[in-house]
Symmetry: C3
Subunit: 146 residues, 3 copies
């Protein structure tokens, strides 16, 4: 499902994900439709479920946990870059529980309830992710060094 509403302000966009909207899939669809080649974002809201992962640097695998409860999305920080030429969303989130304790990690999936409010800033350049042999991950390919 891709149910978001949004409003553009120049190179910034505010997006409201709806109840039932899955964040990673919907933001990827938005980025494809809008031909986003690089963007950064921050957001907050609530979700009814999440799949959150921890990257195990020894096995070089993501360990993913399914979480089925209503959480506050306390922070949602990330970027959109190109992977194999297509927009790829990288996001980390902290999630607040009923007792105010906090869980979080790498976002595999977030299902909004009632909404996620995301501020996204596009850049008019392309940034790609390229495979990194050491970590097994696709890292941002940035040209300059000190």
């Amino acid at each position: 499902m891709c149910l978001m509403h949004f409003q553009r302000f120049g190179d910034r966009t505010e997006i409201r994900f709806e109840s039932g909207d899955e964040f990673i899939g919907s933001l990827t669809a938005f980025a494809q439709a809008e031909s986003v080649t690089f963007a950064v974002f921050s957001g907050l809201g609530g979700v009814r479920s999440a799949r959150i992962a921890y990257f195990n640097s020894e096995t070089r695998e993501y360990e993913t946990h399914e979480l089925n409860e209503q959480f506050e999305v306390i922070s949602l920080i990330g970027n959109v870059a190109l992977r194999d030429g297509k927009p790829f969303v990288h996001a980390h989130a902290s999630l607040g529980r009923k007792d105010l304790s906090v869980m979080g990690g790498h976002v595999m999936e977030l299902v909004a309830r009632p909404t996620i409010e995301l501020w996204l800033r596009r850049e008019a350049v392309a940034v790609s992710r390229v495979p990194d042999d050491e970590s097994g991950l696709a890292l941002l390919d940035l040209p300059e060094r000190l």
Copy 2:
């Protein structure tokens, strides 16, 4: 109390809330004085007390907890939009304790000590919050869809 200092850089403003300053009230006062119609922000700092809430999606009520201790404000993410024509602050925070454990949720109140440092970006448009029957909350009214 409204004790903040600030500096403008075009459409961005850096705000320093002082010891004793209550974040939601002071930022609302700032937004009214400056006629903010939409803005996003992120910040960090320290607080001596907080009222933090969890939105219970079954009862559709916020459950608010009073927290009286010195916390690091690890993340403070949100926006200012118009509700009934007046600036309304929506913020989520993660708070760090002496043992480095983290609590957080929807911000009802934060009392700074010694400071909260907030970066705010204004947009030259108006975004309003409108009532959502399903959730009972006021959600951002954004015009476009995919």
Copy 3:
């Protein structure tokens, strides 16, 4: 070590810290090399170790903890301002563990693994930190008040 790669987009820069790169030292070196006088940033990534502090408002001292494990960097929010005329990095981070629990606070040190992805926005003005007698900290010197 200062191993980062970066790309500029006008007044914004995306920085990728490499495995083994220490965040505070490397960002300070970047800010010195680039003559940054004020900037804000947000980021995410992973680290293999961290030194994280809690500011004790009674003793007015930072209590610093050494953490030697692989964490997700869930949020990394802060700014760069001038202290004694030189760029000074102020950052708070939330860190995610293997069991998805979250720790965090004031960042003394973060050693990236495999990367930290940071979005930094520079401003073309100088903001300085000045000593605050009450807290014992150096706070942002901002000229305006409501």
